[in-house]
Amino acid sequence: MKIQEQFDQLKSKHEMALIVYHTAGFPTLDASMAHIQLFEQNGADFIEIGIPFSDPIADGPTIQHASHVALQNGVTLKKIITSVAQINIRVPLVMMSYLNPLLAYGSESLFRDMSRAGFSGIIVPDLPVEESEEWVALSKSYGIDLIFLVTPTTSDQRIRLITDRSEGFIYCVSLTGITGVRNGLPPGLFDFTRRVKKATDKPLAVGFGFSTPEQIRMLQYQADGVIVGSRIVDAIDKKEDVTGLIRRLKSATK
């Protein structure tokens, strides 16, 4: 399913998108595929599949740990794409990967294989617009949305540049920092989302620090989607009731 299509449908229902992040291969690749299906069944509107990397500089301890475990288990990008191709998921799948594993895979084969496996988009946190020319061209020719990030430190001028180039949605990093669960909303968040909205009509998804239904409810009318990552990974790690968690998060988006 196309990312734009999903946002359009949700908009007509006056719902925010719940984007659920999961580090593929944590705790095992099979468990990950089962979790992804569980996320969809319980209300996730998008699933973001994180590719483990040895040096995740934008991630906090939770996702660092998950990545480390996945790599210890011998999980690779190739295995992840192969596994994803074998499961049946209707909601859009978005890959999140640091650049180096993608380079090692090869950019052309990556987009070809992603497209065959049913991915709709890709986020590369260490690929700024300045370095993205080749990736933009390839993503377009394979119909995979290349999603860029904006942050509170991004100037208005850069926001225009980035939102112009980003396809699918704009990933708004809610705070200056790394991924991980936090309380409340970061100060100045709505000033930031307003700055982004002024620059674009594309959907905005807010991420970094979100873990509770209360936080999500506070985002109503401010964003088109919310990304929950570390909280989910933590719940899986601690063997919490993931089904209930996803349902609670989803109901807060309505």
Binding site: F53, S54, T151
Partner: protein
């Protein structure tokens, strides 16, 4: 040739660039602007030169190593004595420059990463000198191996934060420093210790280190009336090497960069990213990288902590690809022998990093003809390595 490089986006051909999270892009532009402003500022250079001369002890001498070169039938070997600079290594050239810049930018807090502790000590020193708060990230493995340097940093008023992630060494310390920077970008200056990282760091660190090569040029012209035939330097991230090479890139001078061969390239236990790595992106730049076939960065090994790093500066990647500089390796064992040899022959205990350059020089001098001149960058002194070497011999 590469004198005018990198381009305005920090590229040397396919290498370099800015592969970082968006949060720090603004800060990189701000840094680039601030750096470009001071680069041509007479006042800044006046201040920098003052500290380099009166505080750090520059120029360092270019010493003709008479007993070391004895067996080589007239081949002359000069040592550029960076070991005599304050804090015992070339690292101080860069940290004085960067901390001066940080203070001009109004930053109240400086962070740095360190492996063996040399860059940490040099940053702590420059921060003490200029009255700026300093925090150094250091892998907990390295903290164990380098207790003395941790104590030095603490004496200098710096807070040393142990890093427990990954292999708990330099690479992970850089990751953690970058996470700190991403979080406290508004008031924090990140002082990178080698010619690595996103643009403008590789260019800026090179510029602060090129004083080594500039001095060599003047000194060798005075002593020999001509330029040297060969420059030799060790390469981890590559700051001392680019510092001595850069002013000679357009000249008819051969250059060799010596990487950590560790236990031998065939064992995978080494730090030779240029000799045995593949192109990839780590810590903000495209360069050569030790990685597995899936693009995961692999663990490295070297007896010398300063060369124990899976990446290398992008300008070296370019100089390798263009063929301008040749890169080779020296094993732990060869470096240890050179360490011992230089100590006994010249009364100079080199850093294990620099001992790699000395080891290669001894090997190549045998094959050179009598009237040739070699300059080796003796990038640091070996006091920090005594415990390690004591455990090995």
């Amino acid at each position: 040739m590469s004198i005018r490089m990198p381009d305005e986006r920090g590229h040397w051909g396919q290498f370099g660039g800015r592969y970082v999270p968006e949060t720090v892009m603004g800060a990189l532009y701000e840094l680039n602007e601030a750096y470009c402003a001071v680069r041509d500022d007479v006042g800044f250079h006046h201040e920098l030169d003052f500290y380099l001369k009166e505080y750090a002890g520059r120029p360092t001498s270019l010493y003709l190593a008479g007993r070391l070169m004895e067996p080589f039938g007239g081949v002359k070997i000069y040592l550029k004595r960076e070991d005599l600079a304050h804090t015992g290594a070339h690292k101080i050239n860069n940290t004085i420059g960067q901390v001066l810049l940080a203070s001009r930018m109004g930053k109240k807090r400086v962070i740095a990463e360190t492996g063996a502790g040399q860059h940490g000590v040099a940053t702590a020193t420059a921060c003490a000198l200029m009255g700026i708060d300093c925090i150094v990230y250091m892998g907990s493995e390295d903290i164990k191996r380098q207790k003395m340097n941790v104590f030095r940093m603490e004496l200098l008023g710096t807070q040393v934060i142990p890093v427990e992630s990954g292999s708990r060494t330099l690479k992970d310390a850089i990751n953690e420093a970058m996470r700190d920077w991403v979080t406290r970008i508004d008031n924090t200056y990140y002082c990178i210790g080698s010619a690595v990282g996103p643009h403008p760091y590789p260019m800026m660190v090179r510029d602060f280190q090129k004083v080594i090569g500039q001095e060599v040029r003047e000194q060798i012209l005075e002593k020999e009336g001509r330029l040297p035939d060969l420059l030799v330097a060790c390469v981890g991230g590559g700051s001392n090497a680019i510092g001595i090479f850069y002013p000679f890139l357009d000249e008819d001078v051969q250059m060799v960069g010596v990487e950590a061969g560790g236990l031998g390239l065939h064992t995978k236990q080494h730090g030779a990213s240029l000799s045995a790595g593949e192109v990839g992106s780590l810590h903000g730049a495209m360069s050569y990288l030790l990685q597995n076939q899936d693009g995961q960065v692999t663990e490295t090994h070297s007896v010398s902590a300063g060369l124990d790093y899976p990446g290398v500066g992008p300008e070296h990647a370019y100089l390798k690809e263009s063929g301008r500089v040749r890169y080779t390796t020296v094993t732990d064992q060869e470096a240890l022998e050179a360490f011992d040899h230089l100590s006994k022959k010249e009364g100079i205990i080199p850093a294990l990093e620099s001992a790699h350059a000395v080891a290669y020089t001894m090997k190549t001098a045998v094959e050179m003809s009598g009237d040739q001149v070699i300059v080796v960058n003796l990038s640091g002194r070996g006091d920090k390595d005594l415990e390690i070497v004591e455990g090995l011999v």
